[in-house]
């Protein structure tokens, strides 16, 4: 149980060659309470991964600071487990070894092996313990990465689209599993997703990010009782609200992109916010 406090953080990528720098977001503040489950939603490229990496201590913010518990984040540490957007498995280790790699430092070899096997079973990979990453499918790699992060049992869990490449059934199962783990161990979870329903289903709060300029647009508190029912009117209402705001974000981008080409007829063809078109995912 740790509080994550993000205070007035700015991230700018300098570009020496072209002599122009790119500011992803600035003055971004967000506090994630101990044991809270917070989702980050936003259009592609708005800085969700960047923010997660700053909390992880992997990227340095240009200004501002991030505190986890009482300590200001300067570098990565095993108190914050990360599921990356890419699988990030060591190609020279087998599936089992990859998971053990994360916990080897905490426990003895035999114990680590047992522990790792347990989590790999959870993601249905016990048949592939001794396979190398290049022998796995995209979804299988992602599942290894999930097993690895969960097995570490960190206080703060940072997950960057962890279920993106999974089929709906596996995803459903892992939703339950993550919720179960979260409730049992009261982890603080920061969760990036593109799936509005997923975010409503899982989180206490949903942070909506925007782009150009980047930053937080709106924060929703999800006040629905768990387990949540996607068919309930409140659920649908929230979904529509979020969809509308995100829709506005993307319309902005599209206008910028298309410039003079921005043909309103084509735009209306390409883009709609009505419920029927919006929830077709």
């Amino acid at each position: 149980m740790e509080r994550v406090m993000i205070t007035e953080v700015e991230k700018t990528f300098p570009n020496k060659e072209k002599n122009q720098s790119f500011t992803v977001f600035k003055d971004l503040s967000l506090t994630v309470e101990p044991g809270e489950f917070v989702s980050l939603l936003g259009p592609s490229g708005c800085g969700k991964s960047t923010l997660l990496n700053i909390v992880a201590g992997l990227d340095q913010s240009t200004s501002g600071k991030v505190k986890v518990g009482d300590t200001t984040i300067k570098e990565p540490g095993s108190d914050r487990g990360v599921v990356f957007q890419e699988a990030a498995l060591m190609p020279w280790l087998t599936v089992l070894e990859n998971v053990m790699f994360a916990i080897n430092k905490k426990m003895k070899k035999e114990e680590a092996k047992e522990h790792a096997t347990k989590y790999l079973k959870l993601v249905h990979l016990s048949k592939f313990l001794h396979s190398y990453p290049h022998e796995l499918s995209g979804g299988m790699k992602q599942r290894v990465a999930i097993a690895r992060a969960l097995s570490m049992d960190p206080k703060v869990l940072l997950m960057d689209e962890p279920f993106g490449a999974l089929d709906e059934q596996t995803r459903m199962m892992l939703h339950k599993e993550v919720q179960y783990i979260w409730e049992e161990t009261k982890k603080t979870i920061l969760f990036v997703t593109h799936n509005i329903r997923e975010s409503i289903l899982l989180s206490d709060r949903i942070v909506l990010m925007g782009t150009r300029p980047g930053g937080i647009r709106k924060i929703y508190t999800v006040d629905l009782p768990r387990p949540r029912v996607p068919a309930s009117p409140e659920f649908i209402q929230l979904e529509q609200d979020i969809m509308a705001i995100l829709g506005g974000e993307i319309e902005k981008v599209m206008k910028e992109e298309m410039g003079d080409d921005f043909n309103s007829q084509k735009a209306s063809l390409l883009y709609g916010t009505d419920r029927n078109m919006g929830n077709h995912i």
Partner: protein
């Protein structure tokens, strides 16, 4: 004048089993190359990691390495003789100098080429500094290091041949004696020996490791 295949084989046979000079020289040289190569790989590996990891080291020590690596063995030899008082250390020194750069530069590049995401992942699992080097950087740069080791082996031999001129026996010495007395068949016989050792080491060491590594990494696409 020109060496003949039959003559070379004959010289090889004589040298190994009759006069025994090739056998003796081979034993001496083998010992030197094995020790020298091992040290070159270790030192080169260490330097390579250092240069790959630390910008400061790369810009100071790295420049020194670059400045010195072009200096040929024949120049190092007299210096080594003075430093090591003519002892056997001089030979090892020259052999190590011959092989170390190749190893250093290859490991350095291997380290620099490690996919950033792997380092980042390991860092979030609590790996730091030397552990990060041992557990991520070195395994990830094995393909590069392997090339470095191959070159260290080859250039170690070359340096050894030059170093053995100082009169402490070995194949290099026999080679030069044979050359001075124009026994080209024996020169070729020694080349055969060196080549055979090279092939043996390649097949039983480097190639085995490489096949294993490439297939683990899933990099066997380039074949056929």
């Amino acid at each position: 004048m020109f060496p003949s295949p039959s003559g070379s084989v004959q010289q090889l046979y004589i040298g190994l089993f009759e006069t025994g000079i090739l056998a003796t020289a081979l034993a001496e040289s083998l010992q030197r190359i094995v020790i020298g190569f091992t040290l070159a790989v270790l030192i080169g590996g260490f330097l390579g990691v250092l240069l790959g990891v630390s910008k400061i080291a790369d810009e100071t020590l790295g420049s020194l390495v670059i400045a010195l690596q072009s200096v040929p063995s024949i120049v190092w030899l007299p210096i080594a003789l003075v430093v090591f008082q003519g002892g056997a250390g001089a030979i090892y020194f020259v052999v190590i100098l011959g092989g170390t750069w190749a190893m250093t530069l290859n490991v350095r590049m291997g380290i620099k080429n490690v996919q950033p995401i792997l380092l980042r992942a390991a860092k979030t699992m609590g790996y730091k500094n030397t552990e990060l080097i041992w557990k991520v950087m070195l395994p990830a740069s094995i393909p590069s290091a392997l090339t470095g080791a191959r070159l260290a082996w080859a250039f170690g031999w070359r340096a050894l041949m030059a170093a053995e001129l100082i009169g402490r026996g070995g194949l290099g010495r026999t080679l030069m004696d044979a050359r001075d007395f124009f026994n080209m068949d024996l020169v070729v016989a020694i080349m055969i020996i060196i080549s055979c050792i090279g092939l043996i080491v390649e097949y039983f060491l480097f190639s085995k490791i490489e096949k294993k590594v490439l297939s683990r990494w899933g990099l066997t696409n380039s074949g056929s």
